[in-house]
Symmetry: C2
Subunit: 228 residues, 2 copies
DNA sequence: TAATAATAATAGTAATACTATCAAAAATAT
DNA sequence: ATATTTTTGATAGTATTACTATTATTATTA
């Protein structure tokens, strides 16, 4: 991964840009650890402030509330995955190779050791995305937040994958539906493997990432090769 | 639908059985309306108590907290869908016909007018399941609650559908993963059609239920007919 | 009709999700 | 190098949430 990449978001889930200050970066890096450890419901700005040796009021200057912080983290994640998929598929000649690689990255992104941004631990962020990301849009404010652009990153990545699907078969009628289903399923199946194993054949103890990639590739190619 | 059916759950998400008393039934029927109207986060026992002319303390005698009430509602929904699928597929001779009907019911259950239980509005409950149901297992307490049996109904329905899949093709290697993916996708795609339309081809204004059924049938049959 | 159980009324607590104010410290502009 | 502006810290305060406890009242059942 590049020595220095910068992910910037197309919306204002934040009040003050957290990347630009020491406190802002501490808010991001520590909130990732804390949301993972406590779960989003138990996570509070007060606890976060105590952990980073700051105050609630200071954190509120960066994020209006913890929901918007979660929107920021999840958006950052999808922008980052989109970047890595672009990077990884860049020189591949065959549409199937590109889609293969993209699906691998979707399931794998954040499982690697090497961090691309110093203050963000992508492995922990990945766990947050698995367990908490659907909470960003499953709210009564979804339409208002959609208008504010809070879901642009996830939509962009969905469009990106849909284009890879259409490059394999332009006649497949549900590229976005397929891809949004697969994006959710990737994390869901790994979550189920860990916590609700009877909902999936993926075994937590047996290379769950590789097995999930197999399952999703089979699903995707079966669907798109079975059209027109 | 039968004039009088009774869904009973295999666990104690409740403290006192809500179906057995007038207050209990009012808690259920009004909480369904209120969670739909306010969203789960804004819903409180205090507001519910005010609405049904009772008190917070009285509601707490039925449910330990609002999360367990949601677990109850979602479990009830899956038990009820399982029942309707059993009923609807009962006399169909062909495995494909049975799976077809099951997928139709999965997407459709709760869209019909006729209610099967007087104090439960399945159409509203369906919207709650779409928007809130993943919150029942996306918590830090998932493992403890799983041990208590809180997810038995969803697991049972998943097993039920997986059996229908295997009846069509016993060699398909991921029946539970496919079915849990499809169960989530059914509600997700309809939610996306309403709120994040660029994530799906399903159009809210153009028979979204029928279109979702088409999409899921194509997905499922492509996958299971493409094995062995 | 007495005993028991369920509900209502009321009060109270700790924690959450903020907002406001002001002083101290840090960054920046001149 | 100093003045100005911005950022942070310290402190306090409020409304709401998520409960628990107590006692009186009303239904239910024995």
């Amino acid at each position: 991964m590049a020595a220095s990449i910068h992910i910037s978001l197309n919306h204002k889930s934040y009040l003050r840009e957290p990347e630009s200050t020491e406190l802002g970066r501490k808010i991001i890096s520590e909130s990732i650890k804390m949301i993972d450890a406590l779960g989003f419901e138990q996570f509070t700005f007060k606890k976060l402030a105590a952990e980073i040796g700051s105050t609630e009021a200071s954190i509120y200057r960066y994020f209006e509330n913890k929901h918007k912080l979660l929107v920021y983290l999840v958006s950052w994640y999808w922008a980052w995955v989109d970047y890595t998929v672009t990077f990884q598929t860049h020189n591949l000649p065959d549409p199937r190779q590109r889609l293969d690689r993209a699906l691998e990255e979707l399931v794998n992104a954040g499982q690697e050791d090497d961090p691309s941004v110093a203050y963000i631990d992508e492995r922990i962020l990945y766990r947050i995305v698995m367990a908490e990301s659907s909470k960003v849009y499953l709210t009564k404010e979804v339409d208002a937040e959609n208008k504010e652009g809070f879901f642009l990153e996830i939509k962009k990545f969905c469009r990106h994958l849909a284009q890879l699907v259409l490059a394999v078969n332009p006649d497949y009628p549900y590229p976005h539906a397929l891809v949004s289903t697969v994006m959710e399923a990737a994390h869901q199946q790994l979550y189920f493997a860990s916590h609700l194993p009877s909902l999936t054949e993926i075994k937590y103890s047996q290379r769950p990432v590789e097995e999930t990639i197999q399952f999703l590739k089979h699903l995707v190619y079966s669907a798109i090769d079975n059209s027109k």
